[in-house]
Amino acid sequence: MSRWSDLEDEMHELPLDPNTAERLIAGAIAPEDAPPGYANVARLLEAVAGEASPEELVREPETVKIVAAAMRSPSHNHLASPKRSFMPSALTRPRMTAAAAAAALVCSASLAVAGALPGAAQDIASSMLEKVGISVPGPNENAGTHPNERGNSSTVAPSTAGKGAEISDLATTTDRTGLEKGAAISDLASGGKSQAAEHASSPGGAAVVETPNSGGAGTADMMSGGQSSNGTSTADTASNGHSSAGSGNRP
């Protein structure tokens, strides 16, 4: 038998009961008290947990500062909050509200930047976004005929109020009647754009309005076997004069 196989046999003869193993690894057995073959293991385990070397503590100053700063920072409350719950009620609702508000803000801001808001709203958005350094078109640049200024009814342009009074005056004082009176008022209100005056002076005396389907009455008559025109009188007869149906009923 070789020397190596002798050693292998010896290694297999290093008995260790569970209780001794537990005490050994817990550091409860000094090397000199260790069972045969385990004195060096006991020393090794002592060395594993030996005194700290300066190299092992070389990062102490920076790590301590970082941890201390983290502990003192206001956001630490967030870091130290209890484990996140997956229940949405308490946390999700405010978040959803905030998200909706943010989305609305972004949407409004986008419209403002595009100059697509109505004049007064564009004016408000323009002044607000200007404060945060965002330049957007003013109300006069894209607002078309929408009001250019914020304000209330007392600041309505005097010209508009004067026109209303003028129309009212015409309506109450003119000697014209019927179609001519209406045409005159319409003409004044529209600033001359109305065609009512022309229709008023047409030979028929009535505005020509084309109807898309002139066969309605005929169809009704045909489908009812000529009875449709008798509806109101039929109702009147049937109700012994008490029906109010139809345009021809008595008042």
Partner: protein
């Protein structure tokens, strides 16, 4: 492993308020063993992993409650999680680098006997533990460096207490065999 007999509570309270002296006390007491555990398991990245552990401690210290043993348990649970995360990242990274020839760098960076001439007793002892099968090495390190009992190690490693006892028993026998083999090699030279 009772470095702060009777004053651990006050140190913990001060550390929770951000007192640098108290954080330094905790760091000096616990960091070296956390670092040894991580460096043995991940030689090139142990320092960074240990720093990450302290960042995690900062995030959770205000809601921690317990004595020194509980703190040690908590600390090594964090360290173990950091290590598991690291190993997952490493596996992904290795999958990417598999086509490259890294044998030279690997052989040198992981050689446990490299720089053995100027190593301290602690370094030599850690290298011997590192040569154990990984699960045995981890049990020994958590028990010795963490000062944790079988139940705590079982909880951290997600194993049964019986499995942990078997692993530590095998680890001790293997360490004894290693030491005896080296002694015999010195005799035969």
């Amino acid at each position: 492993m009772m470095a702060f007999p009777g004053k651990f509570k006050s140190i913990l309270a001060a550390a929770s308020e951000g007192a640098e002296w108290a954080i330094a006390e905790l760091y000096r007491e616990f960091h070296p063993n956390v670092l040894r555990y991580l460096r043995t398991q991940a030689p090139a990245d142990g320092e960074d992993l240990a720093s990450q552990v302290w960042i995690d401690v900062a995030a959770g210290l205000a809601r921690f409650s317990g004595d020194q043993a509980a703190f040690r348990h908590w600390l090594f649970t964090i360290a173990r999680r950091r290590l598991v995360d690291f190993r997952r990242r490493e596996m992904r990274r290795r999958a990417v680098l598999d086509s490259l020839d890294r044998s030279f760098a690997t052989a040198h960076s992981l050689d446990p006997e490299l720089h053995a001439l100027d190593a301290s007793d602690t370094e030599i002892a850690l290298r011997r533990v590192a040569r154990l099968p990984p699960d045995q090495a981890e049990v020994v390190l958590l028990r010795v460096l963490g000062g944790l009992d079988v139940a705590a190690v079982a909880a951290i490693l997600d194993k049964s207490p019986g499995a942990v006892r078997v692993l530590q028993h095998r680890a001790l026998k293997r360490l004894a065999e290693q030491v005896e083999t080296e002694r015999a090699e010195r005799v035969t030279r």
